[in-house]
Subunit: 354 residues, 4 copies
Amino acid sequence: MLDPVDAVAMLGEVGAWGVNFHDNDLVPIDATPADRDRIVTAFRRACEKHGIVVPMATVSLFSDPVFKDGAFTANDPAVRAYAVQKTMRAMDLGAELGAKTFVLWGGREGTETDACRRPDEAVKRLREAIDFLCEYSIDRAYGYRFALEAKPNEPRGDIYMATTGNYLGFIPTLGHPDLVGVNPEVAHETMAGLNFTHAVAQAWEAGKLFHIDLNDQVSGRYDQDFRFGAANLKASFFLVKFLEDVGYDGPRHFDAHAYRTEDYEGVKEFARGCMRTYLIMKEKAMRWNADAEIQAIVKAAHEAGQAAPSFAKYSSGQRDAVLDAPLDRTVLAARGLGYEKLDQLTNEIILGIR
Amino acid sequence: MLDPVDAVAMLGEVGAWGVNFHDNDLVPIDATPADRDRIVTAFRRACEKHGIVVPMATVSLFSDPVFKDGAFTANDPAVRAYAVQKTMRAMDLGAELGAKTFVLWGGREGTETDACRRPDEAVKRLREAIDFLCEYSIDRAYGYRFALEAKPNEPRGDIYMATTGNYLGFIPTLGHPDLVGVNPEVAHETMAGLNFTHAVAQAWEAGKLFHIDLNDQVSGRYDQDFRFGAANLKASFFLVKFLEDVGYDGPRHFDAHAYRTEDYEGVKEFARGCMRTYLIMKEKAMRWNADAEIQAIVKAAHEAGQAAPSFAKYSSGQRDAVLDAPLDRTVLAARGLGYEKLDQLTNEIILGIR
Amino acid sequence: MLDPVDAVAMLGEVGAWGVNFHDNDLVPIDATPADRDRIVTAFRRACEKHGIVVPMATVSLFSDPVFKDGAFTANDPAVRAYAVQKTMRAMDLGAELGAKTFVLWGGREGTETDACRRPDEAVKRLREAIDFLCEYSIDRAYGYRFALEAKPNEPRGDIYMATTGNYLGFIPTLGHPDLVGVNPEVAHETMAGLNFTHAVAQAWEAGKLFHIDLNDQVSGRYDQDFRFGAANLKASFFLVKFLEDVGYDGPRHFDAHAYRTEDYEGVKEFARGCMRTYLIMKEKAMRWNADAEIQAIVKAAHEAGQAAPSFAKYSSGQRDAVLDAPLDRTVLAARGLGYEKLDQLTNEIILGIR
Amino acid sequence: MLDPVDAVAMLGEVGAWGVNFHDNDLVPIDATPADRDRIVTAFRRACEKHGIVVPMATVSLFSDPVFKDGAFTANDPAVRAYAVQKTMRAMDLGAELGAKTFVLWGGREGTETDACRRPDEAVKRLREAIDFLCEYSIDRAYGYRFALEAKPNEPRGDIYMATTGNYLGFIPTLGHPDLVGVNPEVAHETMAGLNFTHAVAQAWEAGKLFHIDLNDQVSGRYDQDFRFGAANLKASFFLVKFLEDVGYDGPRHFDAHAYRTEDYEGVKEFARGCMRTYLIMKEKAMRWNADAEIQAIVKAAHEAGQAAPSFAKYSSGQRDAVLDAPLDRTVLAARGLGYEKLDQLTNEIILGIR
């Protein structure tokens, strides 16, 4: 693994904007306070030198064997306390480097056998920990927004908060729901065969898309973390198109790994490839939006039944208008929607022949 | 398919408590008002005769080709209005038969190509429809609670609200979140390889487990809807144990289908098997709870670090207590948790040799 | 569904080369002999008129409820005999229309519960049927080559011959292995998350790629049969590249279905899209082969250790040469292979920006 | 990880029959010849002391970074030669300890990007290596039978020989097909959602079940290698029943790993649990075979159409008998098969209440 200072240099060289890290990527878990300060100073200088910012920080609650039964949800109260303590210190570290987003990925919060605890108990423990950390951020005036990152499995057999949806359901039950959003990751949602852009869209629409992890993945596999666009060009296109269409202005974090076949040069190619593919897809999304034939198909699909009664706002009048509307299902069903052509044209935009 | 009146007779014969139906299972989509009334009367009499109640009603927003592009989320406003109209009428029907839970499964709310609409637009349309239907229930004093049922795919390539978690995240954004909960289904969560009991537990803990659909399923497949317990005995055990441990008192709805190899007798065996397996697992859950060796392992795992500082409530004192607590991660990591033995003993309870 | 004569007309219009059918797509299962002859005559004329050939025929051993427990592997000997009889007649029909390849897809040859028969018994029954059918083809001088088509599940819970590999293993155990090969289908292999091109390559290398079914599919789902290239552009590229590189000269059969949203025009667009995407990928494959930077990376990866001893042919000399060769694993491991760059360049060929 | 000598002691303590190992589990990859001999001697003595045999040996062609692009299929000829050399030495080691089965698992024989080589080239390279190793075994009179072990993915994105079926298709193309069979592993076939017992049955029926790896796994996940029976009790039952029914007399190799939560005692429980669950299932299989109600359902399903013409042997007489047989598909389709009851009774055998 690259030394953090060298990693920052490489990121500067390939044209990246920022860098993130787990606490122990930067400061070894057994570093002395003096070591820690020296490392942090060197790292900050490297960031300044190469023009790299630290928008997000996070904490490793998964590598160390202490978390083998979970971190915030472990059965042992001392492990839970250690996880909270470690996170508080990682928050201190991130704040020192200017981070305003704090990601929490509960990779060990799960089970191989559900005999070990009741799963609703795990939810309560998770809430307790996150509520405490929100208070800590307020107390220290760190100004963090927390971004919760879901994953269905691996390293645990089953992780409690398996999908971005689960976190979107969990957040409104917290003490400070306004401080907490999600950090969806392409690979994590795709592992379960779910449509990642749909999950991102729901998070965005709810005002909860605080951060995003970009990479690529084949469904039904171990966590591959491929270069952005390496596995599914079409899904990458729709994702970039969505982020650009809605004006997402948070970080585009490439949380990916180069193939094991690569040397240092190969890793640089990998890093460049992530950013380059994003920009290629952004350009294609603009082209798609400007394509008259494509827009005509989409428009036609939306405008067929404009005379239908609205149910946007309830009233006794609208109730009766909807109940009595003369809507003929066989007529409505007969219309072709042109989606085969629409999808083929979309593919041809992606393939660069349109 | 069985006639609804005959189905009620069979359910009475095998000892079921209640029956549910999609509107068009009972009343054909093209029935006249007079047909409808005659059918409903005959059905109600059959229910009374066989001692079967109708706790839940629902609406088919998926079988008819009119919904080929979605129902509440279809691009054509007239299709959306038709879907709302059809649901209002199904609510009338359900109320007439005494139903207090109304299930909404958006099986067509999805896409084969995401070129057809922006996915955040779909979320907005879904909200608009459900808000309107909540108002309708209040207006008519039907007293419904709505239970939203997720599914990742099939009949659509990707369904928008893919998991129970997605609905748990969606509900707090509604106009009447208190009226709306979820209806998780074993097969639907399992199709995506997710741990069903974890999803149920999150819903329960949030007060949103309004209904549950029991059946069985192999991951990564088409919707199999197997007899309860047919595919995964261990998952069935943990599910029943959870429902019984927390005292879930809503309907246990077996939404399953007999193998295509079966005749009428086979379908009865199938229906009996669903209920019988539930009761077997309930008995095994009680045995598990009473097993001293099992309980000792669980207790030991929970009690190791009782001297650890609490972070249940934030204060500057507790902040410092957590930050300063002398927690040694190598000591904590060294403890064996006994989960292999715990899981083997659990298996032996299930296998009936303990 | 389109009438077969109309379907041939559409295929002629969109520029297809051939058409295939299941016996009952053309001749209803309950047709009289006179009906059959009339239908066949009309169909042959339509083919002649539109310049469409019939390279392959097949038999439906799955739609009718008689096959609910399997066809060649059903427990009931009469069902097995009926399946063989029906296939013999479908062979007659195909031969009459000029088909030289006969596809067998055993969609019902499987189980929902393995309690119903021993799975090795199913293998024996399958062999018995195919051996008999090979003899029938020889006897009648039909000149068929049989192409066996695997699928992991759906309509059955588990199908016995789940992957193309299973059939490649089964064929050498037959009475006439030379007459029997495989018909891999993109969707069927992809459902199980397997790399389709790898399976095709193994079949090709073994001389067993008698036919191929092209469409598209997302892993871990029901059988989607999407338009070729609709789901995974990169996998489609590698598949076309392989078929073109090796000079596969059998039919390229698009066994796909248009989205349910389509009308007649949409189905034509769908059919055109399948063929168009194949040709686009073929052009991109040629471009890839001609790209000097890409070829240099591939060449470098292959040539590093040319001085290594060969083990292509065993002898005591080569044995000792291999045993004694001074091969330093740390030196060999240190080489970067440039695959990130190679893959990114490949993506850029596909995306049309190279 | 346990020292091999200690591992043998534990295996003796828990009652195991044999032990297997990868070459480098026993002898470190960088051991000197003197170290090697000392280690082997100590290990053999431990085996003798604890009554443990070494029925199978294998070689690690995956852990070392030298294999990052494959072993027998790597692009670099020197890596391929190194892989063959290393395997020859592992064969020497295994022979010295009495092993008669040699397992080859090509965990690195695959790709992340198919741009790196043509997949048919990989098949040819694999054949070349295995042919050479077969000759080496003959030359040295080691008497090995080789058992090839498939896996769909992980550590590589896609492994070439993805399923047991692929190897069954590959073996007949080898120089010494009689020396080569398969080593199916529960987890590997199950990862791809395939029915493991079906694959085992095909291998058995072809005379190719040379070895078997028992553990457990959830579909669509990373390689979990759970304790036998930990994930899917029903699949474990059908597997054991098959192995016992056919009289498989090879090793039952538990290739599993304890949860990461376990200490030394927990690992022992895990090892005991594997063997204990196998024996429990064996007893249940006997009970199933002896259950009159179960046997009656199976018998009825098999005997319905005994008057049907046979197609076991082709002749013009049997041809005509089959073609002319009066088989009525609607009558055949109408029979219920009783599989719901059969499966429920099977479940009740497994659950120990029958």
